[in-house]
Amino acid sequence: MAQILKTDNLRVEYRSREMRNATKLALRGLNLEVHAGEVFGFLGPNGAGKTTTMNVLLGFVQPTSGTASLFGIDVRQPIARQRIGYLPELTYYYKFLTAEELLRYYATIFGLSRSEMDQRIDRLLKLVELEHARKRPIRSYSKGMQQRVGLAQALINNPDLLILDEPTSGLDPVGRMKVREIIQRLKHEGKTVFFSSHELGEVETVCDRVAIIHQGELKVVGRVDEIKKARHANLEQAFLEIIGFQPETAS
């Protein structure tokens, strides 16, 4: 299978804000490979380095050492982002634009033709069930509607790789189910999805493979059923065991 996403010995150091000259290691030599057509779950507790990895993949943060590539192109090249869609966690889109205008703006950056743009905007607004609100300014949208606009913008270029940072955070059960349905649909269309989540049930349902990262270090990569089988536990118990979490026993 073709390699879509690759990190090679990726290391990211941040300068600590609290202590001058002190550095914080966010990623310690991360090696990751994601293949075409798979749904890949990227798991880890808060502060494990999931968002940092995504930030490097999207060119937002320069790695201290190591390399990262998308479709074989170095992530520092803007062209590496031509075939990806990205949904960040908790984004407040331009309040003064309507959903249609926002999608048109992003579609222009991808260089879509006018007819293609119209067609895709109609299809996506229908997919995320925002057709009725397409002419309304985003300032009047609920949190769930904003997240759905975010999903639509991530799909505007019909991406081959979709990077989702906690896509269901802050959504109600219906919204979560909708996002899961969309991920499944993309999987059937042969798209690659790379997403981080704390919802292990959701990960179990939709992911082909998962990686578990803790304190910037990759702990496990593999198929969900293999990880569960190796530890004779469900994914949540396996996850806690891998990150070394010791539950407090009742006295």
């Binding site: 060119g59 937002f60 982002r81 990205y86 003064f96 634009l97």
Partner: protein
């Protein structure tokens, strides 16, 4: 180019969908109309004072719009996290900086057009003539001065943490240049070294915004500025804006976006 136009288009949309411009325009119009309706001391040349005050208000309003609009652009994108999906698209940071610059500059151009049309109508109603070329030169120079200020505020928005501190610093710097910048060389000459050299260096380094202040041209109906000097001023503005934009691009390129 397509990406720069797309980013600039959103900036222009933001300006005309926010209330800032309308408030400043209405306040300027009301003050000018009230002043135009009275004839203090029955002075025949009162129209010159009216024009002077009206142009001063236009300059102040345009500075407020240029600085506040530009200063909030990139910090607001960071704060609302819209910078993330935007830079996750095939858009380089240089294109984003240029898009923001052209958006703010063209938006300022549109507001200037409104202000100068109103000013022209008001003064024509009193003087019964409309020196179009004078208006063209004064407004164009004004617009290019705003180009330097927009580029400077954009660089400031990447250097200073908060838009409010950037706006304050920009207002102080622009006000300082307009009020005392032109006199720095004369102030420096009698001073001892090294203060003299420092002041002279500041004098030659700062963009001389007073070159673009052609208000007297329309207040006193002076003859047109020679086109050679007019073009030189335009080139001067383009050069300074380019310096600030290069600085902004270099700073932004090294910044983490997370």
């Amino acid at each position: 180019m397509r990406n720069i136009v797309a980013v600039a288009g959103v900036v222009i949309k933001e300006l005309y969908r926010r209330k800032d411009f309308y408030v400043l325009f209405i306040v300027t119009v009301l003050i000018c109309l009230v002043m135009a309706s009275v004839n203090i001391f029955n002075d025949d040349k009162i129209v010159r004072y009216l024009k002077e005050l009206c142009l001063l208000l236009v300059w102040i309003s345009s500075l407020v719009i240029a600085i506040t609009t530009t200063a909030r652009q990139i910090p607001a994108e960071r704060e609302n996290r819209t910078l993330l999906p935007l830079l996750a698209k095939p858009l380089s940071r240089l294109q984003l900086v240029l898009g923001k610059f052209f958006g703010c500059w063209f938006a300022c151009g549109l507001t200037l057009l409104c202000f100068y049309v109103f000013f022209g109508a008001l003064s024509a109603s009193r003087e019964h003539h409309w020196p179009l070329m004078n208006y063209f030169q004064a407004a164009t120079l004004h617009w290019f001065a705003l180009g330097i200020i927009v580029a400077m505020a954009l660089l400031g928005s990447l250097v200073f943490a908060a838009p409010s501190s950037n706006s304050t610093i920009c207002f102080v710097v622009v006000g300082g240049i307009l009020l005392v910048g032109r006199h720095l060389d004369k102030v420096a000459l009698p001073l001892p070294e090294p203060v003299r050299s420092v002041l002279l260096a500041v004098y030659y380094a700062i963009p001389h915004l007073e070159f673009f202040d052609a208000r007297d041209l329309i207040i006193h109906n002076w003859p047109l500025i020679h086109w050679r000097y007019f073009m030189l001023a335009i080139v001067y503005a383009v050069a300074y804006a380019a310096v600030f934009l290069t600085g902004a691009s270099l700073v932004f390129r090294r910044q983490a976006v997370n």
